[in-house]
C-alpha cells in the first residue's frame, strides 16, 4: 500500500509525533509491567531462596510478609521429631522501622540460626553474623544510606556492626537484613520466640506429604512454601496490581488516542483526496486499508521503538534507584508489539468512519 506509506511519510513531523506517542505508551506499559514483575519477584525472593519446601506458621497465618506469626515454644523440637522431616530452620522475623540518617526506612528483619539456614543466600561482601551485635545488611539499602562494611547501624536502639552485605534482598518497599536468631529474640524481648519454621522433607518425602504430617502440630498450620509465596504475591497484587494495571491501561489509551488523533487529523485533511479516490472508483474497503495501514505502520514502528526505550528506561531507573527491579521479559516485548497492533486497529476506527462518510459527489463541489 504505497499510498498509505506516502501519506504517512509526506508529513514527517506528524509521523514522528505518532511514532513517538506509541513508543512512549508502549514504553510505559512495558516499564510498569516490568516493575510489577520485578516487585513480585522481590516479594517472593526470600521464600524462593530459603531452605525447605514447607513453612510452619501460627494457625491462621497464610502469608509471610503481611502477618505476624508466633509459634508455640516447643514447635521447633516437635517438628524435628516428625517422620519424613530432614531439617527444620526456625526464623524470627518482623517488619521494623529503621531510622537511617533521620529517615524512616521500613525493613524486614530475619533472625536465623546460621547452622540451620534461613539467612542471606548471596553475600556481595563480608560474612554471616557470628555474634549478637552483627548484622548482614541489604547491599542496595546500605548503598543508599552510605552504610559500609564494618560500619555501625542502630536497630531498635541497639548498635550492630555491619559484617556482610547481601544481594537480591532488596525491594522498593522493604529490604531484608539478617541477624542471629538470639539477637532478634533480644531485640523483640521475646526469648525462645519463633515466627516460622522452614521445613525440609527427608529424601523421598514429597512436600505435600510432609505438610500433611506437620498439620497436627498444635497452634500451627503447615503450608507449602510455594503456597506461602503465592499468598504473599496475592497480598501485594491486591494492593499494587489494580493501580499499576490502571496506569498500563491509561498508557494504552493515551497511545491509542495519539495515533488515532494523528491519523484522524491526517485523514480529515485528506478527506477530499479520499473523496477523489471514491469518485474515481475506489471502494471503501480499499480506503479502509489505506487508513489502517497508516495506523499500523505508525503503531508498529512506535511499538518497536517503545520496546527499545523500555529497556533503556529500565536500565536507567535501576541504575538511579537500585531498589526498583524492572524485569522485562521477551514475552512482554512480544506482547507490546501486539499492544501496538491493538492501538493501530483501535486508532484506525475513527478515521475509517471519516472515510466511510465521504460522499464521492462532493469532489465536484468547490
Amino acid at each position: 500500500m504505497f499510498l498509505a506509506r506516502r501519506n504517512l511519510f509526506k508529513e514527517k513531523t506528524r509521523l514522528a509525533l505518532s511514532i513517538g506517542g506509541v513508543a512512549l505508551a508502549v514504553m510505559l506499559v512495558l516499564v510498569l509491567n516490568g516493575f510489577l514483575t520485578g516487585m513480585y519477584r522481590q516479594i517472593t525472593s526470600y521464600l524462593d531462596h530459603s531452605p525447605g519446601s514447607v513453612v510452619i506458621a501460627q494457625r491462621g497465618v497464610n502469608n509471610m510478609l503481611g502477618a505476624t506469626s508466633l509459634l508455640p515454644p516447643d514447635t521447633v523440637d516437635e517438628a524435628g521429631k516428625i517422620d519424613g522431616v530432614a531439617g527444620v530452620a526456625p526464623i524470627l522475623s518482623q517488619f521494623i522501622i529503621l531510622d537511617l540518617h533521620g529517615k524512616k526506612q521500613p525493613a524486614y528483619m530475619v533472625g536465623y540460626l546460621s547452622e540451620r539456614g534461613g539467612g542471606p543466600w548471596k553475600l556481595a561482601e563480608g560474612r554471616e553474623p557470628e555474634a549478637d551485635d552483627e548484622v548482614v545488611f541489604d547491599s542496595v539499602l546500605a548503598a543508599r544510606h552510605e552504610i559500609r562494611l564494618g560500619g555501625l547501624i542502630e536497630i531498635m536502639g541497639k548498635d550492630f556492626a555491619v559484617v556482610g552485605l547481601s544481594e537480591g534482598t532488596t525491594s522498593w518497599m522493604t529490604s531484608f537484613f539478617f541477624i542471629r536468631k538470639s539477637a532478634a529474640e533480644s531485640l523483640l524481648r521475646a526469648p525462645g520466640a519463633t515466627s516460622f519454621l522452614l521445613v525440609t522433607p527427608a529424601d523421598g518425602e514429597s512436600p505435600e506429604a510432609a505438610r500433611d504430617r506437620l498439620g497436627d502440630l498444635p497452634g500451627t498450620q503447615a503450608v507449602l512454601k510455594s503456597e506461602m509465596a503465592a499468598n504473599d504475591y496475592k497480598l501485594f497484587a491486591r494492593y499494587f496490581s489494580a493501580p499499576l494495571q490502571l496506569m498500563t491501561g491509561i498508557a494504552f489509551l493515551v497511545g491509542t488516542l495519539i495515533v488515532g488523533l494523528v491519523i484522524y487529523t491526517a485523514t480529515v485533511e485528506r478527506q477530499r483526496e479520499y473523496g477523489v479516490l471514491k469518485a474515481i472508483g475506489a471502494r471503501n474497503a480499499v480506503l479502509y486499508r489505506v487508513v489502517a495501514a497508516q495506523a499500523l505502520i505508525a503503531a508498529m514502528a512506535g511499538a518497536i521503538l517503545g520496546v527499545g526505550l523500555a529497556y533503556a528506561a529500565g536500565e536507567w531507573i535501576m541504575a538511579a534507584r537500585p531498589q526498583f527491579l524492572i524485569v522485562l521479559e521477551p514475552m512482554e516485548s512480544a506482547r507490546a508489539v501486539v499492544i501496538g497492533l491493538g492501538m493501530a486497529l483501535a486508532a484506525a476506527l475513527f478515521p475509517a468512519r471519516v472515510v466511510a462518510g465521504v460522499a464521492p459527489a462532493e469532489v465536484f463541489r468547490k
Binding site: R6, G281, A361, F364
Partner: protein
Amino acid sequence: MNNEAMNNGKIQNPNDQTCGERSRTIPKGNTATLVVEQVTKRYGAGATEVTAVRDVTMTVAPGEVVLIMGPSGSGKTTLLSMLGALLKPTEGAIQLNGDVISALAENRLPDIRLKQFGFIFQDFNLLSALSALENVALVAQLAGAKGREARKRASDLLTDLGLRERLNFLPEKLSGGEKQRVAIARALVNDPAIILADEPTANLDSKIGHEIMRLLRRIAKEQNRSVVIVSHDQRIKDIADRVLWLEDGQFKEMVTMAIDPVCGMSVEREKAAAALEVGGTTYYFCSKGCRAEFEGEQLKGR
C-alpha cells in the same frame, strides 16, 4: 482543417513538435453511448425541497464532445455527478450502452466509475503525496493492474502527454497545465468510454486552457471516447461538437457546433452565416465568402 494531430490513436504531445515519431500507441478507446432520459434530481423534502435538475434528456455519442454551460447553481455539477454514477437521479434513467446504470446497486457503481468513466476536476485533485506517475498508476492498480504493468501504462500515458521529464515530480512541483495533463492521464489509464470534465480550464491561463481542451478533443476524436465538459468558459465553445445551456436545472438552448470546411473555424450551426447541403451532408460556414469558395471548389470537382 482543425489543427488536431490525426495520428492513428496516438496523442500528440502539445509541447513536442516531433512527437509524431516518438509517442507510443495508446489503445483505441472503449466506446459507449450515454443516454439520459427525463432525469430529475431533487434534494430535501417538503418545504425545503430543491429541484437541481429537472426532466433532462440527452444523448452523448461515442467520439462526441459535449459542452454543458450555464450559470452558477443551474445544476451542471449535479447533472455531471449523475452522468458519472456519483449520484442517483430521483427520477428518470441513465443508460450506458443500454445498461441502466442509475438503477444499479450502490456497491456496483465503483466498478462502473473505475472502468467506464474518466474524471477530470477543476482543482486537478491529484493526490499530494504521490508523484505524477504514482497518481496515474494507482488508478490502474485500483482496476486490477499489477504494480509493474500499472506503472508502465502510467509512464506511457504521461510520456505521450509530454510529461516524461516529470514522472517522479510531486503535484506541488508541477505547473497548472502539467497537473491537468496528469489528471487527464489518470482519467485515461483505465481506457474509459466516457470522460467527464468539471471546469477543466478554470485554474489555467487561456493558452494552457485551450491546449488542454484541444487535447481532450483529440482524445475524443482519435480514440472515439465521449467527452462531457461542464464549464463557464465561453472561449472553449469552439472545441465542442455540441453546447448545451443549462438553466434552472433544464436545458434552455442547444447549440450544435460545426467546422467551416474552408477556413477551419468553429461555427454554431444555428448562427452560421451560411449553410449548404451537398450529397446529403450539410456544411456550415462562418461567412458567405467561405461558402462561395466552397461552392467554387465543388464545381471544379465536378
